[in-house]
């Protein structure tokens, strides 16, 4: 099961540039929540604050509170521990090139010290099934390298890799934007099926995708959260004019 995320007063900087202004929202557990907005609006930065990836950049800074379940991820816990509980899928598929499919999926566990061979086999198979990739690769698990798959398959491999560590939250930063339409729809189907088990936050610039996949949607503009509501409301009856302008295509 996933957990809910409560964000209060989140601010973020890159060096002296103030990229996120006072973000506050509640992401419900076991749902998919979409974040939309024009390029550079801060939605990717926001998502990277949820697993403390933002601060891997030496000039980055974050203030505010992000409560995952009942733990504030910015108080006292190490980022490494947080990232073990929050999975991330990136815009461009990034499987580890020197590892086989099996090793890729197992990497999150193995490299954190997991030794049980038989159990790993089961976990890898289960994760690949969850990512709807198992049938396509089941004969080549240890023989093919992660990088030898097609783009869409690579992205599903990355999803399997993220799922193998059984995260409570799954963050997806424009996971289908580098993929062809068929792979995109496969990934959207995936999100459908996964959200009952995990809390999913998906960043997308594709509004139709948000409408298809998420229960709630947040609209970001210039580093601020303009509106956050049920997806149907955002797309049919937004409260803020800026949201309406974006939805109807007046900018972005």
């Amino acid at each position: 099961m996933g957990v809910g995320i409560e964000v209060t007063g989140l601010n973020a900087w890159y060096g002296s540039t103030h990229t996120l202004h006072d973000i506050g929202l509640h992401i419900a557990a076991n749902r998919a929540t979409a974040l939309i907005g024009p390029s550079g609006c801060g939605k990717s930065t926001f998502v990277r604050c949820l697993n403390r990836m933002h601060e891997t950049n030496p000039i980055a800074r974050v203030t505010g509170s992000v409560k995952m379940g009942d733990i504030d991820i910015y108080s006292g816990i190490s980022p490494v521990a947080i990232r073990r509980r929050v999975g991330m899928v990136f815009q461009r598929p990034n499987p580890f090139p020197t590892m086989s499919i099996y090793d890729n999926v197992a990497s999150g566990l193995r490299l954190n010290g997991y030794r049980n061979r038989r159990s790993l086999d089961e976990i890898v198979e289960h994760s690949l099934k969850q990512a709807a990739l198992f049938d396509e690769v089941k004969d080549d698990l240890k023989k093919k390298s992660g990088a030898s798959l097609s783009g869409g398959q690579q992205q599903r491999l990355c999803i399997a890799r993220a799922l193998a560590v059984d995260p409570e939250v799954l963050l997806m930063d424009e996971p289908a934007s580098a993929l062809d339409p068929i792979s995109t729809s496969k990934i959207e189907d995936l999100i459908f099926q996964l959200k009952s088990q995990y809390t999913i936050v998906i960043v997308t610039h594709n509004m139709q995708q948000a409408a298809r996949v998420a229960e709630e949607t947040g609209f970001f503009l210039n580093g601020k959260l303009v509106e956050f509501a049920a997806t149907t409301k955002i797309f049919t009856n937004p409260s803020d004019k800026r949201t309406e302008d974006y939805i109807t295509g007046r900018f972005g």
Binding site: M1, N30, R31, A32, S78, V80, A81, R84, R85, L109, N112, G113, Y114, I123, Q130, A164, V165, D166, E168, F192, Q193, L194, K195, S196, Q197, A211, R212, V213, A214, E215, E216, A230, T231, T232, K233, F235
Partner: protein, 335 residues
């Protein structure tokens, strides 16, 4: 809350809240200490680069104290070299190093730039890789192999074919007179030229490829011939980097030891004629250090080594700055 999308349950039952995987991962430490230790080890290794420089300076300064105190600065302006009486002066070696290196530059720079221009701008595509592979090989040949080849091929060639011509045509200048044994300053200059050529050529190629192609296109659009395009569009922009490459070549020539020791003749005197034998800083150390019997002798040689170290550091530092200034920001493309 109204749902725009209905949540279809997955085919598997949801995993228990604290699955064994989560329990396992939560029990792992955050490795903060390991991270710090690791980062510290890497930092120490990087600092070893500085440690090497300091180490060399310390050893050389420390072990040349005798000679430093005995001769002071005059060491570098005197022409003595008499181990028996303990009288040492490094001028002949400085002269030999400088002259052979300058000679090498005069020969090598036009050839290196010419080759670089050919490979970068004129060469048919299929030749490019093999040619650059060949120049890379030239750069990798050890000094002693160059010296071996020079003794048995270059020296006889110079002695029998080249030097007589030089004596006949240019002997009146005074630079080509005296005994013609084949070895000497000219031989050292030639073998040095061959050795530094690939270095200058590859740096020239690197800075030439760093010049953006719009410079070339602009020149061509104005009606320039190919040579004019190269001269104005490429070489002019790459000037500084080429100078840097030349200085790097100079730095290499100054410190080149074995090949020079094998052809320069090894006599510590200063002579105007390039056919006369001489001595260089690096080769006197190579030749005489192992037999240096007393402390003053050794100390004098180490002092020469110290001077060589400082000079090459300065020359190479300057050269690297120049090359960096030109190629910085421009991605280094594979040759």
């Amino acid at each position: 809350m109204p749902h725009a999308v209905s949540a279809e349950g997955g085919s598997e039952p949801p995993s228990p809240f604290l699955s064994p995987i989560r329990i396992f991962l939560n029990s792992r430490g955050d490795a903060a200490l390991t991270d710090r230790v690791f980062a510290g080890l890497m930092l120490l290794s990087a600092l070893s680069i500085f440690a090497i420089v300091i180490f060399i300076l310390r050893q050389l300064i420390g072990s040349s104290q005798l000679s430093l105190h005995a001769f002071g600065w005059h060491f570098f302006f005197r022409s003595a070299w008499d181990p028996v009486s303990g009288d040492f002066g490094a001028l002949p070696f400085i002269y030999g190093t400088v002259v052979s290196s300058l000679l090498a530059l005069i020969i090598a720079v036009p050839l290196a730039v010419g080759t670089a221009v050919f490979i970068t701008e004129m060469c048919p595509r299929f030749l490019r890789q093999p040619l650059s592979f060949l120049t890379e090989l030239l750069a990798a040949i050890p000094s002693v192999v160059y010296g071996l080849w020079a003794i048995f091929v270059l020296l006889p060639l110079l002695r029998d074919r080249v030097n007589p011509v030089l004596i006949k045509t240019l002997g009146w200048t005074g630079f080509f007179s005296g005994y013609n044994l084949g070895n000497g300053m000219l031989a050292a200059g030639v073998i040095l030229a061959i050795m530094i050529l690939p270095l200058i050529s590859s740096i020239t190629r690197e800075v030439m490829t760093a010049v953006p192609s719009n410079q070339r296109e602009a020149a061509l659009a104005l009606g320039a011939t190919r040579w004019e395009m190269i001269r104005v569009g490429v070489l002019r922009n790459a000037r500084i980097g080429i100078v840097g490459g030349v200085i790097l070549g100079l730095g290499r020539a100054l410190g080149e030891t074995m090949a020079v020791a094998m052809v320069i003749g090894n006599t510590p005197h200063i002579s105007k004629s390039l056919l006369d034998s001489g001595y260089s800083m690096a080769s006197v150390i190579a030749n005489e250090f192992a037999e240096a019997s007393d402390d003053m002798y050794r100390s004098a040689l180490i002092e020469i080594g110290l001077a060589l170290f400082i000079v090459t550091i300065l020359v190479n530092g300057l050269a690297r700055l120049l090359v960096w200034a030109v190629t910085r920001g421009a991605p280094a493309r594979a040759h």
